[in-house]
């Protein structure tokens, strides 16, 4: 029992519940099923990106370029859809993923083969990918009326009155869960992040794993590129700007250690949910814009502190009590 109470994921879950209840008291409208389902929809992209960022953080790296990657992929398919509105939507989705993956592979190659440190690489591609959006779009926006109906329809699909985005996030959660916990690839990511020197001895090819992790991060950024433009029905140079920081804080709140090798998939999702909840809840209880930022920062910090405090070392029993 004590073990469950001290479990990081459980604590995070409790914090989420407490916030939900507190906000519910202040504004009962916030905890209606409709409103909660809106929050979930709103957080889905964050969940997907946090999960893919987690893969990178597990191996002691970070992908700062995800938001730019998302925006560039989204812009490219939006531009294409204005020229070829007749193409089916899955075509655009696949293309967006391919573009995203390619951008991710470029990150991976720069880090693994060219040995440019990951911070430098992804900070660089953060600006480069963002800059390319200006280049391809001439700084113009693609507006909702320019997208084909087909392009936007999928996002409005609902099942059990929950949105497509939400269900997609659930699918991604399951995929990443299985990938990280039940495949050799996933387990080797943990070993590489936990002890890179030792991973060499057991034959984990570090470069291969770096490139794979960044490709996956790129793939999901690309996927979210489509999701983002379709959901907000607009593609501009500014979309998702700064979103990489939200994604990384979701991971950190979720207990994914930036030292590598530690973190659960469930924790990551809960971290994203907590952040999504705060962002939605604070406006709902009439807190001024300025305080919103400060409060959400404080809650994030608090979650992290509670999280690390519970990470206590268990001691071996030597003596049988007599």
């Amino acid at each position: 029992m004590k073990k469950i109470l001290l479990n990081r994921d459980f604590i995070l879950f409790s914090i989420i519940l407490i916030i939900l209840i507190a906000v519910g008291f202040a504004n009962p409208l916030f905890i209606t099923p409709k409103s909660i389902s809106d929050v979930l929809t709103d957080t889905s992209i964050l969940i997907i990106l946090a999960l893919s960022q987690m893969i990178v953080i597990l191996i002691r790296a970070i992908d700062l370029s995800v938001a730019s990657n998302l925006a560039l992929s989204g812009m490219l398919i939006s531009l294409l859809s204005t020229v070829h509105p007749e193409l089916p939507v899955y075509y655009f989705i696949a293309l967006s993923c391919v573009i995203g993956t390619t951008l991710g592979v470029l990150n991976g190659i720069s880090i693994a083969i060219l040995k440019v440190p990951f911070i430098v690489t992804t900070l660089g591609t953060l600006s480069i990918y963002r800059g390319l959006i200006y280049f391809v779009s001439d700084g113009k926006q693609v507006y909702s009326n320019e997208f084909s109906e087909d392009f936007l329809a999928l996002i409005h699909f609902k099942f059990l009155s929950l949105s497509f985005l939400f269900w997609l996030a659930v699918v991604v959660f399951i995929i990443i869960y299985v990938l990280l916990n039940h495949t050799r690839f996933g387990r080797n990511l943990y070993s590489l992040g936990g002890n890179p020197d030792a991973a060499k001895y057991i034959g984990v090819n570090e470069n291969k794993y770096i490139i794979m992790a960044y490709s996956l991060s790129g793939f999901f950024a690309g996927l979210c590129g489509y999701l983002w433009v379709a959901r907000y029905s607009v593609a501009s140079t500014q979309i998702a700007i700064g979103f990489e920081l939200t994604v990384i804080s979701a991971c950190v709140v979720g207990g994914i250690s930036v030292m590598g090798g530690v973190g659960t998939v469930l924790g990551c999702v809960l971290g994203a949910l907590l952040i999504g909840l705060i962002r939605n809840a604070l406006p709902a209880v009439d807190i001024s814009q300025f305080w919103q930022l400060a409060i959400s920062g404080a809650i994030i910090l608090l979650a992290i502190i509670i999280n690390t405090k519970t990470e206590q070392r268990k001691e071996k029993t030597i003596m049988v009590e007599n």
Partner: protein, 493 residues
Amino acid sequence: MKLELKNISKNFHGVKALQNVDFQLQENSIHALLGENGAGKSTLVKILCGVYQPDSGIINLNNKQQSIPDPSASLSLGISAIHQESVMFDELSVTENVFIGNHITKSNGLVDWGLMQDKTNQLLKDLEANIEPNEKIKDLSIAQRHIVQISRSLIHDADIVIMDEPTASLSQKEINELYTIIRNLKKQDKSIIFISHKLDEVIEVCDDFTVLRDGELIKSDTIQNTNKDQLITYMAGREVNQIFPKNNVTIENEIFEVRNLFKKTQFKDINFNLRKKEILGFYGLVGSGRTEIMKSIFGITKLDEGEILFKDQKILIRKPSDAIDQGIVYLSEERQQLGMTGLMSVKDNINMAVMDRNSNFYVMNKLKEIKNSSAMQEKLNIKVSYWSQLTQSLSGGNQQKTVIAKWLSTKPEVLILDEPTKGIDVRSKSAVHEFMGELVEEGMSIMMISSELPEILGMCDRVVVMYKGLIKDILNVKEASSEQIVKLASGES
């Protein structure tokens, strides 16, 4: 012939770690690979494991020439190794550490946790190890980690099992169990390469031996044709007297005492005292609570109850720096993790804890530093290839000696040593013992945890024997017999 190495050479930036070494491993045999610290043993192992590539030379496996480009190639050729440095993943479970890099998968490609768990459980039972497969490695003691490493190499079902100092931190009982395992492996038609500095044991279990010195092959033969003294001479290049120097000092008044130390689930009713110029030994099975007591005396962990008296004054130690300020120093068993900074030179490591003594008004006095470190280096026979060599690229034994030198430099009043000579060669071992003798003469008092009975009997004045967190007895070494001590330590009588 199972395995044959011909003319293997390996350089590290001009350091000749191996020069034209030949090595032959017979089918179904236990082969001892011997040599002093820095002789090149681990380098040879790493070449066989695909961690290093030889600069020249060939490897024949089952009479077929092979190259071993990476660790997975080595595994698939049926070679598996327990390395000298820990190849463990702290945050992962025991099961996973056993199977790491080699997870069992189901037909659908997913990892078969259930089966791995069962196999680990079975293996740990066979080894009579009291370890839960679900536990994280970071919660295990050093000896238990060792057992996990051993399990890992057993699970691979390799033809050739290499053990680079597997017994360094085990006590006699566990060592005997390990030998049973090794002999069983041999019965299953496997070949074993065994690296150890404990020559008595080597002679007992091994069939053949190869001695390296400074990267060169000195001698290879069957064990029957040699004896301990000859092996030492091969290794050192000259005769070495390895008698434990009895310290003939007059023991003075009590300087340090603990009363009723108690820590939940760890130890209780711990009472002992230490007199000036005394060496007090601590003997017991690995995991009997010796290290835990010292850690809490030194302030690394917290005591639940009990008092510590130093020079008849009650003292409060909340953190290690409190103890150091009092003049009490603890040389941890986990030296590589806790004791050294791998990216510093040997000199800087040795001087790290005595910076204030070697400085004038906060400016480091280089001359004093160099004097101190070279004196230590010479005394403990620390072998570096060039003066600025980073500590992390030293051989395992030389890293150990560096940390010992660092703490001995502080010249404390009470020195706590935890397995001070594990993993270091015979010659350096007697150097450490001699040094301990000198320190005591100068007025230091020492508490020494050791799992080597000869070391305890040779060096100590009294010995505290522990079993499962309790002190069984405190014996005068002169009057105690080794059987008596071993019996007490295993809970009999």
